[in-house]
Symmetry: C2
Subunit: 412 residues, 2 copies
């Protein structure tokens, strides 16, 4: 079956180092279909559709399209926007006017919810539209897929830098003997847990890993730090930004005043630092890479980049076969060597569910992970992505129509 009519691809949510691989996959698979309609990129996700801000992806140069494979960030622009009731009619009219028959939406949980709504709208209005979700999130919290494109590269970067900074810490004979690395992950600890790959001997960091899956206990934490410090002379801690206490309250928000009535502003790392410095009396240094971890294309995983690309090509092929209302998934082959094959799941089953680390993959002390997790994550960070450089820095590409500045009014 051939593609008939035009298509839209768009990106939503926080970008990753490899999200543009999926766009590239969609563009190249679309071209492969032959005699196909036009493929548009909607700028800034579903908002760009509603505002009819399209660029013609079929008209982009081959070099730019290929360059997407090593360019981080959302090349089409991203958004966080929840579709409103009043948007539906507008959306349908735009699809009709432009003869849009294919809608590819690259994103995480919220984006799959949006794609699901678009699909239901089309069904309800009997408008022929093929809607395919393409998974993307460094948080790795989408259900029904072995893992999410974007995760492996962020994990590789974090494990690499934890390895490097753990060596840095080990060499010191100074006052700052505790390093706390605050890692992304509001409700699931996949990224924090991945840093365990940096450990190659007992004294390598991270020595302690705290995950949102395990309620954080202050006394337990302080005891852990003291134990490692006595044994090693230094402590490397990795913590998910989204740690919660037994009542489910975020640690960094809950502890806005300590036992002395002092204010404790700042994020999680700063909160833990203050605890350790006041209660254990050891100096702490915080590393908070922030968006660096999700944008680190210079340290992307080849496996991750290839899978991000594959989910894009598969989305087009599935749509061409007449599928709709599904998200492409990665299905791990059970064989000796790691391999993931494409699969699919209904959008309605994915939307708004967060996949957490299975509790039996976490150690009994709640401060590290077990072998099952390592077996799961190790294949995802394999291989390097080569990229062209210019003057000693990566040479990234921009889609032609997006070279201009975004309109200021929209970003407020």
């Amino acid at each position: 079956m051939k593609i008939r009519g035009n298509g839209i691809v768009a990106q939503s949510g926080g970008p990753t180092a490899v999200i543009n691989n999926s766009v590239c996959g969609v563009i190249q698979a679309w071209e492969e279909q032959g005699n196909a309609g036009r493929l548009y990129g909607a700028m800034h996700g579903i908002k760009g559709v509603l505002e009819e801000k399209f660029i013609n992806l079929s008209a982009q140069s081959r070099d730019i399209v290929e360059g997407l494979r090593h360019t981080p960030g959302a090349a089409l622009g991203s958004c966080r926007y929840r579709l409103q009731e009043e948007d539906y009619l507008k959306l349908l009219r735009i699809f009709q006017k432009e003869n849009i028959r294919y809608f590819f939406y690259i994103g995480g949980n919220d984006s799959m919810d949006t794609a699901n709504k678009v699909n239901r709208l089309a069904l309800q209005e009997q408008y022929e539209l093929y809607v395919i979700g393409i998974p993307k999130t460094v948080d790795n919290d989408l259900p029904f897929t072995d893992h999410c494109p974007g995760y492996g590269s962020a994990a590789k970067f974090l494990a690499t830098t934890v390895m490097e900074t753990s060596i840095d810490l080990k060499g010191l004979l100074m006052s700052k003997s505790v390093t706390i690395m605050e890692v992304m992950g509001r409700n699931a600890g996949w990224l924090a847990a991945s840093t365990t790959l940096a450990r190659r001997s007992d004294d390598d960091g991270p020595h302690l890993i705290y995950l949102p899956e395990v309620p954080f206990k202050r006394e337990r934490f302080l005891a852990d730090v003291e134990t490692v410090y006595r044994e090693m002379g230094h402590v490397y801690i990795v913590a998910s930004e989204g740690l919660v206490d037994e009542n489910g309250e975020y640690i960094f928000a809950a502890k806005s005043r300590d036992s002395f009535g002092h204010c404790m502003l700042g994020g999680l790392a700063e909160t833990l630092k203050t605890m350790v410095e006041r209660e254990v009396g050891i100096k702490v240094r915080c590393n908070i890479p922030g968006t660096v971890q999700r944008a680190a294309a210079h340290c992307a995983s080849a496996v991750d980049a290839a899978e991000a690309y594959m989910t894009g090509t598969e989305a087009v092929r599935m749509a061409a076969r007449g599928c709709s209302g599904i998200m492409v998934t990665l299905v791990r082959d059970g064989g000796e060597d790691y391999r993931c094959l494409p699969g699919s799941v209904e959008l309605g089953r994915v939307a708004n569910i967060e996949k957490k680390i299975p509790l039996d993959w976490i150690n009994s002390a709640g401060n590290g992970v077990r072998e099952q997790f390592i077996h799961y994550v190790r294949p995802l960070i394999q291989g390097e992505v080569s990229f062209p450089t210019r003057d000693g820095l990566p040479h990234f590409v921009y889609l032609e129509a997006l070279r201009q500045r975004p309109l200021v009014g929209e970003t407020r």
Copy 2:
């Protein structure tokens, strides 16, 4: 002239991504001297000398020595220790006992002060000792050398990640429209300034760079942020951790309470974030890479790594020629193509002086740098360092005697 007697090499201060290149250079040049005495590594700098914690570097395997060229951190261990009067006699006795005739000290300002004291002690006591300082600091603040080994690699990593996170920021259409990257540099802005290399078009970040060389003015800063935000719709700010106000007080310390009497804990980025969110009303996200920036061997500059190695080999050659009491320097050749040749300067002239960015390399608004700075820094980040990997991560080496854990008592 041949090397006669034994030698010590040691590392001090904060590590860098390429500091072990200098150790490798010392080891390999020492071997080249032929019929030479033994080369010891003192563990944890001058403290290791005083505690007679030596390892025999001549006995290390070739693979480990060569592996130092891509391994970050201080492979010999580092320290921050100011020599006391009572240490001098002890030091001299240890040198005599072990027949130490060469002392190579790799470090920054304080380390050069230590090396200078050791040299003066030997002269005073008429003990034949050749003392050579080898420059190292990501801060790039040593005088009399064009730049310092370690700086180029940290600059390359920071420029790369600012480029990546600036693309990440540009793609967003969300609430967090300001990114603040806090960069190392307590008194000199060389690292913060280097991120200007990430700019390849007008809308690329960083849009605003704040350096310790320019007194920070709150009102001016807020006006800068508003101006860029109105023009671009987003703002990428890079700030040195050591920003000071007109009275020379650190911004992050001085502003412990804001105009509302609220506590403002945390470092510089958190302080600036609070200012922008309260006064301009735009959401801010902070990236604080911390030790990640100085340990990022996976993104080291080939030029920097080669120069770090060269300062090590030159130190041995200068000592073999009978020089003492000097630090190896890098002297930029004035030619069309970038090249640095080795030079030297007396240790006494280097110690305790910090080199700052020339004020005429900073723009008149005090929020960015001029072409002269770019011309200076660009050659220092060129080229990549290849490194072996294992299971998707770098394969770093450890010197044989340092595989054990450090003694806990010492690190408190």
